[in-house]
Amino acid sequence: MKPAAFTYHRARTVAGAVGLLTEFGDDAKVVAGGQSLVAMMNFRLARPEHLVDISRIPGLDTITRDGPALRLGALVTHHTVETADLGADFRVLSEAMRWVGHLPIRTRGTVAGSLAHADATAEWCLLAVLLDAEVVAEGPAGRRAIPAAEFFHGVFTTALEPDEVIVEVVFPRPARRAALTEFAERRGDFAIVAAAVDLDAYRVVLGGVAPVPLRVPAAEAVIAGGGSPSEAGEAATAAIEVRDEPGVSARYRRALTRTLVVRACEEAAARV
């Protein structure tokens, strides 16, 4: 379990990183915290020829409030968000961080890294879709904002071009009555199913039931219509399409979906 050889590049600026990515194309991989990538490299499941380290680029590690919006620099770590005082507007982000791995993972892992890795059960992926975040990426042609709804394309694949770097994630609106909850057999594991809801924006997003974080309009309609948590849970359960997989049947995944949507709704409702 030793990684294959690579050439290491430390980017000093975003433009520098983009330049390296442009030069090396598919042979390059961006590393920030590296908490998913390095493990995959140790297994040699990922073997980039060139590793472009963006973690030293100045100015990408700040959290700023911008009117109603919250702007998280690409290099903000899970632990920074966990311990930041984001106020009632964005408390959901801080509280969701306890589901991200464990402390030593959260001290290194970054918001942007998690989004770029695009595990469909990852907390940041759910939160981005839940809260209509915009992923700001910079490429050779400059910056563009990618709505979270369009960002996730499939298992571990995103709208990012090979020569683009995430620089910022913008959460445009407060989410006072929002919550994320999960179920896994063991603390810190990737969820079997994760559910996130925003009762003010009428949003329900699920992880673990599709290749990407999945919005569930049917459940959202229930919430918008003043339905109960259990009705929302039923609607979500009815709406998803899942198959039997080793260790987790479709039936069980649906049951977890129901339970977790209900619990997320109840948790969110408790936040006034």
Partner: protein, 174 residues
């Protein structure tokens, strides 16, 4: 011989000492600490970030030494288990608490738990026992069943708080 075309010069500060190394960038921090610097107190348990035997401090924060390439933490302040005892070899309060509570058996996972606790208590000295248990859940131990590790760290935190309070009280009464 490593592939010389890949070798990079890397400067690391470990336990206050600066080292200059010519290494392949693919070398993980824990391998560099152990095999290039001879600091074998930090152990390797899984190389995919779950067991935590390789936990060290980077700029004060507990980090998985197997999920970081040494080259990535150039310029950072790295601390390993070897830094905990005093220069004369006497054990720190945290190390003593581990011994008193029998929080180690084979001792293989122990440096990881020590550094995890060292980093965590520095950030959150007021941690409750339940919070400590959550953090202890970051690492794996196969011998103890964890209870005594939680108790040792909780005991150490309590003693540190009491000592701080005593210093404050002494300052007030002086």
């Amino acid at each position: 011989m490593p592939d010389m075309s890949r070798v990079q010069l890397v400067e690391l500060t470990v336990n206050g000492e600066r080292h200059e190394l010519a290494i392949e960038p693919r070398r993980t921090l824990v391998d560099v600490l152990r095999h290039d610097l001879g600091l074998t107190g930090t152990h390797v348990g899984c190389e995919h970030g779950i067991c935590g035997a390789c936990t060290v401090l980077v700029d004060g924060a507990p980090v998985r030494g197997c999920l970081v390439f040494a080259v990535q933490v150039e310029g950072g302040e790295i601390r390993t288990v070897e830094s905990l005892a005093a220069p004369d070899g006497s054990l720190s309060d945290l190390q003593q608490a581990f011994s008193a509570h029998h929080a180690l058996q084979c001792g293989f996972c122990t440096p990881g738990f020590l550094m995890l606790a060292e980093g965590y208590l520095a950030e959150r000295p007021e941690a409750t026992k339940e919070e400590i248990r959550e953090v202890v859940a970051s690492n794996l131990c196969r011998c103890t069943g964890y209870q005594t590790i939680v108790e040792a760290i909780d005991d150490c935190a309590g003693r540190r708080r009491a000592a701080l309070q005593a210093r404050l009280d002494a300052g007030r009464s002086a």
